[in-house]
Each structure stands twice: as structure tokens, then as C-alpha cells.
């Protein structure tokens, strides 16, 4: 999350750099288009996360970059060099496979040494030892993959790819099998290695928290297309589609009529109240719209009590559910028009917890709201559990 990159979309690489550039990349299977005309620039040396629900085409995209799948159309460049049809073993790209794909007949150190040995590198032994040290598997060096736990195998897969120091390292959910503690540890480790060695990482994950803590840039992918791309906070604060708004964190989406533009704001009438959204956060300027507000941005107070917000106060709600989660309290508030809104309030101790049934008023700071086109499904991207 350290540095924020200039918006990558459409920016062509300055000569000499080795950005990974995908142009209109498409993969069609007999009956199914897994990746649809994908445009993507991953700046050299950045940590790029590809986030999306299961089956949205993440693995397929990585396989095309690795050369294991031939694109139906489109191109892949590394800097100036086109690699679209290069053989996988000729690309400076390595993969940590989703299913590890460790060689069962070779022990752990042989597995890790595989790439170096194929390229005839000297001092393989030392590098393997260092790499095993890094992933904390030194004592397991002579075991076969079948004798290791899932998490250990995953670390071997990571070591086997990382040791080659490829220009681009593709990680297909490399931490999925690890327990939370090990996972946090490996996240930090990965991030450290990435900044230290300056490799380009393309990291596929389901886990939005992982994507947000590790990546410089996140691309949210859905059904074969990239919905939105940008720095984690940018994506979270200003989602452009309902899918992103729901997939990355949670959102309240309230239907409204857009009245039009007024200077650097867009006015929208929501259930009688008039809200103004800054134009850079308004992704629609006419017709019906979804006014979006993150639950932690919603302010709540018992009816009649003052709310510390400059915007309109919406009254007439009452609390239907309260859950206490330690650092915060999560309220469900039933609004007069029947919709239930989520409200997260920090437990600052300023006020006691409001019980179910309490009549409340809500409000928010207009600069935190965003406006989306209402032609989209308001429930897109909500993970059914």
C-alpha cells in the first residue's frame, strides 16, 4: 500500500521499462468466454492483486501470461517485447500454482532447485538453502511432497517459483491453505521480498483483506472483465460499479432520482432528502441512480439527539438488529421506505449501545457518498454464504 501508482489504464509503458501489458486479451473455450478483451498494465516492480469471485477467469488470465494457455486474441507484452506466443519455458515468468503442482518424485530441495538447474545456474545449493530458510522448511529439505502438510507444500511451491527471481511472478492464491497466523506471516514476507527484489508480482486472491493490505494496485475482476482497477483505498472509497461496492467491503445502496449537475456536485433526491455528491464520485449524471454509502460512514443518533453532520438528517428509522463486534457495534436500521441499512459505529464509549427498537436518525458526510448507475443489480458481488 506504500506507493500509489498513476492510473495504469491506457498508459503506455515508457521505453526501457518492463511493465506487463495485456491488450484486449481474450480466451474463448468451446462454449464459454473465460476472459473478455482484458486491458491491463502492471507496472514493473509493483504488487498487483487480481481479485474476483470463483470462476471469473483469474487463473485463465495467469495461464495466458505464463504461456500455458494460448489466447484466442489479444497480446501480452513485457515492456517492448511481445511474448503472447512464446513458449512457457522461454518466458521470464514463473507461477505458484493454485494446486501447487510439486514434483512427487523429487524431494523438497530438488523441487526448489528445478528451475535453477534447468538454466544451468551455479551455486544452486546455496540458493536453495537460503530459499528453504526463508520459507522455514530447512528441516524438511529431504522429504517428498507427499509427506508434507498442505501449508508446507504451498510454501515449497512459493519457494520453487521465487528462487528463479523472474521478472513477473504469478501467484495463484498462494496462501489459501495456510492458517491465519502463518498467512499473515507469509503476507508480510511476500511483501518484503517483493519490495526488496523489485519483482513484479501478480497475485490472485479471493481474500479482499489480503489484496488490500498487500497490493499497490487491485483489479477487481468479474465474469471475465475487469470492473475497476486502482489503489486499494481508491477502490474502496470510490467504487464505480455496484459489484465493486459490494465485493470490496459492504455498501448501503439507496435508490434515488438524479436531478443533475450543479457545479462540481451532482444532486440526487433520495427519499425526500436532497444529497450532493462530488462529481469525481458520481458515476452517473441522470436518470435513476444508487446512492452508495459505506456502513462505517453512516452516523447514527437517537431521534432528537444532534448528529455531527453537515448533510440532511433522515429521520424515522428504527433499529432491528444489534451485534457487538468488540471494536465496533453493527446496527441494522429499518428506514421508513422499508429498506434496511447497515451502520457500523466505533465503540468510543461516548454513548451506550442503542437497543433494538430504538427510534433513530441517520446522516453522513456527502463527500463520502458515491453515486452509481441504477441499471446495475444492487446485489451484484454480494457473496452468498
Amino acid at each position: 500500500m506504500s506507493q500509489v501508482h498513476e492510473a495504469p489504464a491506457g498508459v503506455s509503458a515508457p521505453s526501457g521499462s518492463r511493465d506487463l501489458i495485456l491488450k484486449q486479451l481474450t480466451k474463448e473455450y468451446a462454449t464459454f468466454t473465460a476472459v473478455k478483451s482484458l486491458d491491463l498494465v502492471v507496472p514493473q516492480g509493483s504488487f498487483f492483486a487480481l481479485l474476483g469471485p470463483s470462476g471469473c477467469g483469474k487463473t485463465t488470465t495467469l495461464r495466458m501470461v505464463a504461456g500455458l494457455e494460448t489466447p484466442t486474441s489479444g497480446t501480452i507484452h513485457l515492456g517492448e517485447t511481445e511474448v503472447t506466443y512464446d513458449k512457457p519455458y522461454r518466458r521470464p515468468v514463473n507461477t505458484v500454482f493454485q494446486n501447487y503442482a510439486l514434483f512427487p518424485h523429487l524431494n523438497i530441495s530438488k523441487n526448489v532447485a528445478f528451475g535453477l538447474e534447468r538454466r544451468g545456474v551455479i551455486d544452486v545449493k546455496r540458493q536453495v538453502a537460503e530459499m528453504l530458510e526463508l520459507v522455514e522448511l530447512t528441516s524438511q529439505a529431504n522429504k517428498k511432497p507427499a509427506q508434507m502438510s498442505g501449508g508446507q507444500q504451498q510454501r515449497v511451491a512459493l519457494a520453487r517459483a521465487l528462487i528463479n527471481k523472474p521478472e513477473v511472478l504469478l501467484l495463484d492464491e498462494p496462501l489459501g491453505a495456510l492458517d491465519l497466523k502463518l498467512r499473515r506471516g507469509m503476507q508480510l514476507e511476500l511483501k518484503r521480498i517483493q519490495t526488496e527484489v523489485g519483482l513484479t508480482f501478480v497475485h490472485v486472491t479471493h481474500d479482499q483483506e489480503e489484496a488490500m493490505t498487500m497490493a499497490d494496485t487491485i483489479a477487481v475482476m468479474n465474469q471475465g472483465v475487469i470492473e475497476q482497477m486502482g489503489a486499494p483505498n481508491e477502490l474502496y472509497e470510490n467504487p464505480k460499479t455496484t459489484f465493486v461496492a459490494n465485493f470490496l467491503g459492504q455498501s448501503n445502496l439507496i435508490g434515488g432520482e438524479i436531478e443533475g449537475r450543479d457545479g462540481d456536485h451532482v444532486k440526487v433526491r433520495v427519499q425526500g432528502a436532497l444529497a450532493s455528491i462530488p462529481t469525481d464520485r458520481a458515476h452517473s449524471e441522470s436518470g435513476k441512480g444508487w446512492l452508495g454509502i459505506r456502513p462505517e460512514k453512516v452516523l447514527i443518533a437517537e431521534t432528537g439527539q444532534p448528529i455531527d453532520a453537515p448533510g440532511d438528517v433522515i429521520t424515522g428509522g428504527y433499529i432491528t438488529d444489534v451485534s457487538f463486534v468488540g471494536v465496533s457495534t453493527q446496527y441494522m436500521v429499518k428506514m421508513p421506505w422499508g429498506q434496511e441499512l447497515m451502520v457500523f459505529e466505533q465503540n468510543t464509549g461516548a454513548r451506550r449501545m442503542l437497543p433494538v427498537g430504538t427510534k433513530v436518525d441517520i446522516s453522513w458526510r456527502p463527500e463520502y457518498a458515491f453515486l452509481l448507475d441504477a441499471s446495475q443489480d444492487a446485489k451484484a458481488g454480494i457473496e452468498e454464504e
Binding site: P88, F114, A161
Partner: protein
Amino acid sequence: MATLDDVASPKAKRKLTGYWLILPGALWLGAFFVIPFYSLISASLFNPKGSPLTGYNMSWHFHNFVSAIDQYHAEIIRSLVYAGIATLTCLVVGYVLAYAIAFKAGRWQNLMLVMVIAPFFTSFLLRTLSWKLILSDDGKVVSFANWIHLTNVLHWVHLTSTDDRLLATPFAVIAGLTYNFLPFMVLPLYASLEKIDIRLIEASSDLYASPIRGFAKVTFPLSLPGVVAGTLLTFIPAAGDYINATLLGDPNTRMVGNVIQGLFTTQGDFANAGALSVILMVIIVGMVLVYVRTAGTEELV
């Protein structure tokens, strides 16, 4: 009151069940392995002065082994060489075939497998006899082989005795062995190639292994159980085979199987025949042990 008994008896029963289950197998082994094995060993130690008419004495006559080796070492070596060449040829041809079936055949996979097994639907003898026709002196195969100078090459490497024919030569015998035992090579190879996860081969190419290096470092090592099983299933019966040498060879291509058959049936020399059989068995078991050790696979197939 009955508690002790109730607890104890199911255990005892379970123990007995194990033995009952082993029984059919043990009877089978006793009837068809131990007894013949015993009678073969004792035949190899018969006094050679006996005959099928007068009967034999089991006289711990160890000299039978010396005389058998003395008289028939040429046939023993020839058998091992022919079986060895046939096994290697089977391995090369069978590997290509099994690889194609496992990885390249797509929807033709089942058809190709059936075609590998199809020869078994007709008799071994009949198929070998028909090779006699195919390789006959005035046949098309011979004239084609002449035309491409294959016959000259074969003569030059001493696989044929003249430079214008194929039948009744070592080449014909080895070709017959190769043909007849090829399915025994292909099937285990196919079984172990088919089990290989394609993603491992992808991983090897992702890690800079060209297709050839990838084959040498990943595919072939993973197919080793099939290679071991296939070579054993080919070599062992080929070394003891006498049909191919009888039908496709001449007196100069006699294999140890032919000798044993002759000694048992026409010459009635049970002592020497028994000794020769035991020698062949010991050689093969010895070779197999060394081979399996070096190939380093505990798990066959």
C-alpha cells in the same frame, strides 16, 4: 454372566476369519506352485541314467547343472540376448505408442487401446504362423526390405544369415517376440503414463524445462513403474519362449525354451531338462532382483 464369553468370542472369530480367507489362495499356491516347483527341483536332481520308461531316481545329482550349462550355454545366452533385444525394441515402440494413447489420442483413446488388445482375440500360435507367410521369401515384405536395403543392413549386423531373406533368421525370431509381447509392454506403460498429472508437465515448462528436458526430468521418471512392469512382463516370457524360435527360426536360432521342450518331449532327458529349467529360472530371478533394485521402485504398476 455371559459377558466374558461374549467379549472374547468375536475376537477369536475375527482371528480365524483371516485364516479362512487366506485358505483358497494358499490351496491354489500349494497345488499350482509349490508342488510343481518341488517336482521341478527334484527332476533337476534326478540321476541322468534313468529314462521315462525305466523311471528316474532322485539322487541329489548336482552334476546335472554342470552338464546342462556345459552343453547348452550357447542357447541360454542366445535366449537372453534375443529377449533383451526384443524387450528394448518393445520399450521404444511401446513407449511411443503408450505416450500417444495417454496424451495425444483424445477421443480415439479407447479405440487405440482396443486395437492394442485386439490381437489377443486370436490364438498366439495362429498369429505367429501368419508371420511365416508375411516374411516368406517371395513375399512383398522381403522384396520391399531388399529394395530399401534393409536386408543388407540386417545381414551386416548379423541378424540374418544371408542378405536376401528374413524368415528363419534371428531377425525373424526377435521380430516375432517383439510383436507377440508388445501389448504386455504397452498396457503397463499406458497405465502409469495416464496417471501423470498434466499440470506437473506444465509446471516443468514453467520452470524453464524444454519439452525434451521436461520429458527426461518429469514424465519419464514418473512413468518408471510402468517401464519396470512392462520390461519384466516382456522379458520374462520372451526369454522362456519357444514358439517364435520354432516357427520363425532355424536350428541356429534355437532358444533355451526349444532345448527344454526337446529334452522333455523327444529326448526324454528329464534330468537335464529339469536342470536347465532351474538354471533359467535362477538367472531370470537374479536379473529381475538386480533390475528392480537399480530401478529403485518398490511399487510396481
